[in-house]
């Protein structure tokens, strides 16, 4: 594991290494190194299995984080590979050639975040949302509460409380 990490650090400029638990390591690599790294891991290091791909919107830093979670079933090790791309229309390279099911993750990310994956099969078809015409709903500038109120006929009379203050009031009304 340590040697593997050394190799990755040396060869692919991995940084920000974070050992979560036994056999599970997350780290960050620059965008151009992602594809060579994944290729290398799949071909030479036994990481045959793509568990998932997902994205996080760091709106404050104006970037998306994309995470690939790879698994080596022989050594029972997981690698989380993070990378950062710009929020404004910058796409990411598709890895559907390595794993067919990556196309589905990428389709979801395209729909939910608007991250482009040029060349990925069916990437522009709707995945969960049929006929969505607003900005992608998982981007944090999308105000889901406002959208819901405008769209879904909120039933009048609904009260909303902040759980912390509400419970405090209920349980310790004297404080």
């Amino acid at each position: 594991m340590e040697q593997l990490l050394d190799r990755i650090i040396a060869g692919f400029e991995a940084a920000d290494i974070e050992k979560r638990k036994d056999g599970q390591v997350f780290f960050t690599v620059p965008k151009p190194k992602v594809l060579p790294l994944i290729n290398h891991l799949k071909m030479f290091e036994g990481f045959r299995n793509l568990i998932l791909m997902t994205a996080v919107d760091w709106i404050e830093d104006n970037q998306f984080q994309i995470t690939y979670l790879l698994n080596n079933p022989d050594t029972k090790t997981d690698l989380g590979i993070r990378t950062f791309i710009g929020r404004d229309g910058e796409g990411m390279d598709s890895i559907h050639e390595l794993w067919g099911h990556a196309a589905t993750f990428q389709r979801e990310m395209k729909e939910m975040f608007g991250i482009g994956f040029p060349g990925s099969p069916r990437v522009d078809e709707p995945f969960l949302l049929e006929g969505w015409d607003d900005i992608p709903p998982m981007r944090r500038e999308f105000d889901t509460k406002k959208y819901s109120e405008e769209t879904y006929f909120p039933r009048p009379g609904r009260e909303t409380h902040d759980p912390a203050t509400y419970m405090k009031q209920k349980l310790y009304p004297n404080d």
Binding site: L128, E130, G131, T144, Y152, F153, R155, R158
Partner: protein
């Protein structure tokens, strides 16, 4: 879809390929224009089926109430509460409740929990394919006011804006006992002659359709699914 000898006119690009107008070549080499939404589906507008009067309608309502055939369609997490309903412990059969696998033969649809826009489309189809009279039981707070998904971008808040609801059963989730109580409430309603949701739906079809179309952006089915 066999793509050879099929041509698409330029219009209707918004529709999915299945529902787009197309020209196919017939056996004699002639061109045939196919408009799926018009040619495959009945486009008639439904008419309300008014109840008969007096004792006959009362008798029929009794029969309808005592024989509630439920469409087996679980829309959300609440559908996990349905199977116990039929187990020996709760035994819904004794109230004349039975599950049917096809909407054509069912008279009750249970919306069991949160309803996303995508599922709503299927619910509308299934509901419209049921025969008059038909009844809707809405399960859980999600169908009442959105419940814990009240501010979701994709989950409806009020079911009764889209299809007429006969009985709401509150809770998150309601237990089988509550559902049985709901069935009995529905029976009572039917026997009182108040189970006219199907006719309400048809009478206010425009309003319902407007609400439905507001949230279902890719409306690629006929206006009424016979």
């Amino acid at each position: 879809m066999p793509e050879d000898n099929v041509k698409y006119p330029a219009e209707d690009q918004s529709l999915s390929p299945v529902n787009r107008k197309r020209v196919v070549i017939g056996p004699e080499g002639e061109d045939i224009l196919v408009d799926p939404l018009r040619d495959y589906y009945c486009t008639a507008r439904p008419e309300p089926e008014l109840p008969r009067q007096g004792i006959i309608e009362k008798f029929m309502n009794w029969a309808r109430a005592e024989s509630l055939w439920v469409l087996g369609f679980g829309t959300g997490c609440g559908s996990i509460e349905i199977p116990p309903l039929l187990s020996p412990r709760y035994d819904a059969y004794r109230f004349g409740v039975a599950m049917r696998p096809t909407p054509r033969q069912s008279s009750v649809i249970i919306i069991s929990g949160y309803l996303s826009v995508k599922t709503l489309k299927r619910v509308i189809r299934s509901y419209e394919q049921m025969q008059n009279p038909k009844f809707v039981i809405a399960l859980g707070s999600c169908t009442i006011n959105g419940g814990m998904y009240w501010d979701s971008y994709n989950t409806i808040n009020r079911l009764d804006h889209y299809i007429p609801v006969d009985v709401y059963i509150a809770g998150c989730m309601p237990r089988p006992e509550a559902i049985l109580a709901g069935f009995n409430k529905l029976k009572q309603r039917i026997k009182e002659g108040r189970g006219e949701g199907a006719n309400d739906y048809i009478k206010n079809l425009d309003w319902y359709k407007a609400n439905q179309k507001k949230i279902i952006k890719d409306w690629n089915m006929p206006d009424y699914n016979w």
